[in-house]
Symmetry: C2
Subunit: 245 residues, 2 copies
DNA sequence: CGACACCTTGACCAACGTCAAATCCGGTGG
DNA sequence: CCACCGGATTTGACGTTGGTCAAGGTGTCG
């Protein structure tokens, strides 16, 4: 089938679903897992695929929430802005992660692609009507949101009470744990985001992140092999520093 | 019926449900709303009532999650601790709020009563089996958790990027909005929590909170009528200060 | 009325932010 | 292949917000 490109949400291209859930590489780690064949078929009937270039916005804070997404490949950052431009990155998404949970009618954060991203797109209205019929789907969503809430509370502890060094250590450990859980390479840890993104995630400045990374390198806790990667040399030391975060 | 007291979770007394959902004062603002009579009856069959004195822990971070609760009356704080004692208050609960969401088997935060508290207690196992039969209940829970997640993301923005003054202003506005939503008195705002609790919620120290409140009083934005209350004199100025948070 | 916990205020300090400059690195074009 | 460009990152010097430490005030409850 020739992909028919249509505009949606800031021009991110979409096509009629060209891939099938059957062959979906993230099915087992996404919200679509543990769904009966018949349910999966109904779900597949409403999805289309989408993609975004690095740097492109997928959804915008404040926009009407028309669609929800699953990240199929690539990495995404979520952020909120204050009127004067101060920014807080609230999360990073990787394949299998769900995007766009908004109980109100509008998105509460902006999502921007860090790398080229492939997406699985669910029209919100149609997904909501499916929820009434497929309890398993609502159950998975509840799981998903609850997991995110727990992570958000850990992040509050980090932002409210940890030192710069503890924040950076916690961040690296979190990325390593997630890479492991998702079956990606753990060491060196891949960092698809810029120092500025990391800073805005950790409530610091790029300068402080950079200085802290330098300190960790000088104490032989990590090594910065190539750009966009950090190798963990002393996991125990890093865990100590992170204060269990 | 004479309440039979049994020990549970750190000695918080419980009784067989002596009140009925029919007469529950928080039914319409809690997770139990929009439930059919038959469903409500099944829910009521598994609940017992509980209570806690001011200062008493209701659940402990790390404990096995045996029960979930609804706050019926009073106020509760939630917090997480670092090994060295640093504390982050992750939320305050008021009547109608749900407590104990934990997808793993253990609680991820401690909940402590700020005032005498009455609770509605749901054994987790039995609630989970009800979820399979009552889609409306799972739906309400999803709503509840999603709302909490949105609030948590706002709090990340506050903790990561706002100044002390903006944090305190945002906090007062949040309390005022919640009081309004719950039909409690809005002005003066009631503060059942201590300055230390506020500080640990806002990622500040008691001294900074105190100084900031003093500043706001001196600029005639608020007045500290009596202990445990703050009157908002200039709502617009406070909203300006909070930077839309 | 006195003890105690909580809150406020003051003096000083340090972690992190700000501003500025240097360096690194990948991409581009000759 | 190599020089150059521009953004990202690192490093340095210095400033500021909010933390720390300490003292004093205030309300509450026995």
């Amino acid at each position: 089938m020739a992909p028919v490109k249509l505009a949606f949400s800031q021009g991110v291209p979409q096509t009629k679903a060209s891939a099938h859930c059957d062959s979906c590489e993230i099915r087992e780690i996404s919200v679509c897992r543990s769904m009966a064949a018949e349910e999966l078929a109904r779900l597949q009937a409403i999805i289309t695929s989408g993609q975004a270039e690095a740097g492109q916005a997928i959804i915008h804070e404040g926009d009407s929430a028309e669609n929800l997404f699953n990240v199929v490949s690539g990495a995404v950052k979520l952020y909120k802005l204050l009127p004067d431009g101060r920014r807080q990155v609230t999360g990073f998404l990787f394949p299998g992660d769900f995007l766009g949970i908004a109980l109100n009618e509008t998105y509460v954060y902006t999502a921007e692609a860090l790398t080229p991203v492939r997406l699985c797109r669910f029209p919100r209205r149609r997904l909501e009507s499916l929820l009434k019929d497929i309890p398993a789907l609502e159950h998975q969503l509840l799981n998903e949101v609850a997991t995110e809430l727990v992570a958000a509370q850990d992040q509050m502890l980090l932002l409210g009470r940890k030192t710069a060094r503890e924040r950076v250590a916690s961040f690296l450990l979190m990325l390593a744990k997630r890479a492991e859980r998702h079956g990606r390479q753990v060491n060196p840890v891949e960092l698809p985001m810029s120092r500025a993104d990391i800073a805005d995630y950790l409530g610091l400045t790029t300068e402080t992140v950079s200085r802290t990374v330098t300190q960790l390198r000088q104490s032989n806790t990590i090594s910065t092999a190539s750009r966009g990667e950090i190798e963990i040399l002393d996991l125990a030391a890093l865990a100590d520093l992170s204060e269990c975060g």
